[in-house]
Symmetry: C2
Subunit: 221 residues, 2 copies
Amino acid sequence: MSVITIERKVLEKNDEVARQNRTAFAQRNIFTINLVSSPGAGKTSLVEKTLETLKGRVNIAVVEGDVQTDLDAQRVAKYSVPVVQIVTNGACHLEAKLVQDALVNLNLTNINLLIIENVGNLVCPANYDLGEHAKVVVASTTEGDDKPLKYPAMFRNASALIINKTDLLPYLPCSIDALKLNALSINPSLEIFETSCTTGKGIEPWCRWLEKRSVKETGAR
Amino acid sequence: MSVITIERKVLEKNDEVARQNRTAFAQRNIFTINLVSSPGAGKTSLVEKTLETLKGRVNIAVVEGDVQTDLDAQRVAKYSVPVVQIVTNGACHLEAKLVQDALVNLNLTNINLLIIENVGNLVCPANYDLGEHAKVVVASTTEGDDKPLKYPAMFRNASALIINKTDLLPYLPCSIDALKLNALSINPSLEIFETSCTTGKGIEPWCRWLEKRSVKETGAR
């Protein structure tokens, strides 16, 4: 029983800091997404393609979350955008406080869009609000079409689903229709994008969605 | 501080039950593996191929672990082996007690090998001993070659690494040599297998490794 009480307190404390983050993002007119997926679904490649595509259209900053290494921040830094790496040192998800601390090291002047790339984990990050405006879940076609049913919390809490690595579909026993149906059965309001970071297919519609929301969030204030 | 204390107690309690499981497996001469990976790396397909290949050679039982659904147990049941599904209902890993409870519902008469398929998660299951003799980590080529560096605990605690979906290598920016080097830099004593559950390539060496250990464990007592 005490474990459950402690866990509830941890989540309550996290939600409080998440609210502070959300207020900070609003004050700065920054639209923020929390990018989640299994390890290796292509989150960092998607961030790279997004930075490439939205260059000159939206000013973007990136927070990279990993259990270990700053490999992802190194990849993102090549695009000359503000980036900071959070190393969780074994912890399986980002928490709002880690993001709050990371923001201190990030130059957010004129930024319209903040991308937070979470730890690769399709379970634990679902429970931790970081103060983002939208949770975006990336599912790779290589993972098969049953993942929304097997990991429902992540798909339930997301605003958008990106089905990535569509270029590999000819070689896989994955039905994209079944994957969509399974995802929509868990969360009927999911916006769905199909992308390939290898060919670039589908990146523009995803970027337009981001651009529209970044401008809207900024313009509304 | 109290959270850390509680977590330590949870792990201590888990280790105690894991020891009980290990004793139970020894008494029954059952070699047990704990199969771990990211979601969608192909654990269940590997279990299916293993059951197919070792039919008539080793008597196998299976424990399936999932956050939600009994889809995997349904797939395994087609091979007419004893199987039980653990649904963790949101929890991100199996614990020794869940396995202990599951064993009550499993007919282990004449079983030489127990395969426990863990929840798809490359972080949390690393810390929870289930009483297995070997942790086996499955890494899919589609996840890229940097995963051992980014999720080191899982690779450090494993006895064997299965590099799966090798049939997709021609279409991926993944170097199998880099993947192996990265894995061995974390854990130099890893036994490494390369498999494709689609073509069947590499399944026999993996099954021989399992067979030898199952017989050895059984024969030694």
